[in-house]
Amino acid sequence: MIELHNVAYSYGGGELFNDISLKLAPGSFHFLTGPSGVGKSTFLKLCYMELAATSGQVRVFGADASQMTRDDIARNRRRIGVVHQDCKFLDHLPLAANVALPLTVAGRDASAEAANLTELLNWVGLSQHTDALPPQLSGGERQRAALARAVIMSPDVILADEPTGNVDWEMSQRLLSLLVELNRMGKTIMVATHDLALIRAAKAQVGARVLRIQNQSVQLAGADL
């Protein structure tokens, strides 16, 4: 799905990653952890091509990201669902239209998939809020809406950046079970989080691997978690 070969990333302030090699196999469930500011979000951005590696190669669905045109990137993003830490929506459109947005921009007829949309909103527990505008939603509702938007295209990969950052424990459990369910449907999942309790809870449900960002590199954490 997504492969990194000797990837380095540096910005004005210095080097963030150095020589990372990693392969996200289809159907795998990964956690990405590490202290805040260590580069979890940046790592995910490399994966969904918002940032380009300074050196090395990022391959997404078998193609070299640095060789892709902007339109290629757009098309590949339709196969990657992203849940952001601070979920951004189109604030002037109701929730249902926001969740269906990936369909709309892909040129697919959202009304033809209305049944899917209803089912999806039920699944994330937002069927009562289809006409609400995003600013009217609570943090947890926004996180779930973002997850619904990330999966409506039935993507192969779901990347979630601190999806439980703004919600209480109970809600984070619900979000986690949604992600686990998606993984069981065969989706490749990567969740960046610093919440170790969440990771422990997940390990009880699914064979998740934990990646830790340390010393500008990504290492597979031991079974001690």
Binding site: R70, I73, A74, R75, R77, R78, V82, K88, L90, T104
Partner: protein
Amino acid sequence: MNQAIVALRALFVGDVHADRVVPPTGYTAWLTLFVSGAMAFLAVFSLALSLATGRLADRWSSELARSSTLRISAPSGQMAAQTQAALEVLRTTPGVASARALDEAEQRALLEPWFGPDLPVDSLPIPQLIEVIEDSDGFDAEGLRQRLAGEAPGAVLDDHTRWRTPLVKAADRLRLLGVISIILIAATTAAMITLAANAALAANLQVIRVLRLVGARDVYIARAFVRRFTLRALVGAGVGTVLAMIAVAILPDAQAAGGFLTGLGFQGVHWLLPLLIPPLAAIVSFWATRTAALRTLGGMT
């Protein structure tokens, strides 16, 4: 060709969903409409000015070709001899294409507007007129006057071309100014639409980021902006053009006032020319917004 039709259709019919992804923009929409309307209004007047001065220059230029007149005032006995002598001088003057003495009927026709049809021309000592047509090089008026003074002392050369030439030059210059004004108006429209589009793009950066994140292609995002600005420019320029054409149509007609004054209006098929302004404004706006949108998008990932 088919693709162009599809693109045009998409532009005018639009995609309801694509339109909704960018929030409505309130007052910038009105500003764009106003700017395109005002610019179209000015463009119509510049066009009218160019066409009117063009007509003026053409008329004066065409009169240049047969513009000199030789007037011979002599006692009736010498008239024929002096006319012959003057014609001979003219025939041998370099720069004179042809010279012809007006016959009695022509002279009477010239005088008729002033004295009426019953003027007994025969009994009056009216001067003999000789029409002189210059070739493209023109002749040396001063030299001709001196030679005529010797051969036909009653001849007076009236070369009105000499004061018409600067007028034609002025009219040509005015036409050029009109054309430059139209170009400047188009460029100003492009600049203002670009500023408005950039403002709209900047105000919608979050929208654009979200659209990119969920897999929207650049053209999809750009189209939502381009369509709006193009339609606004088209409508605004349409209204401005119609108002300006009405204003030009009700200008008082200067045609009757003088031989070489011409009304600052459109004549005949020229009335169709201002109708090109709204589509041109739309094209300028399309291009300006598209460039601005793709530039903004190019800076994002």
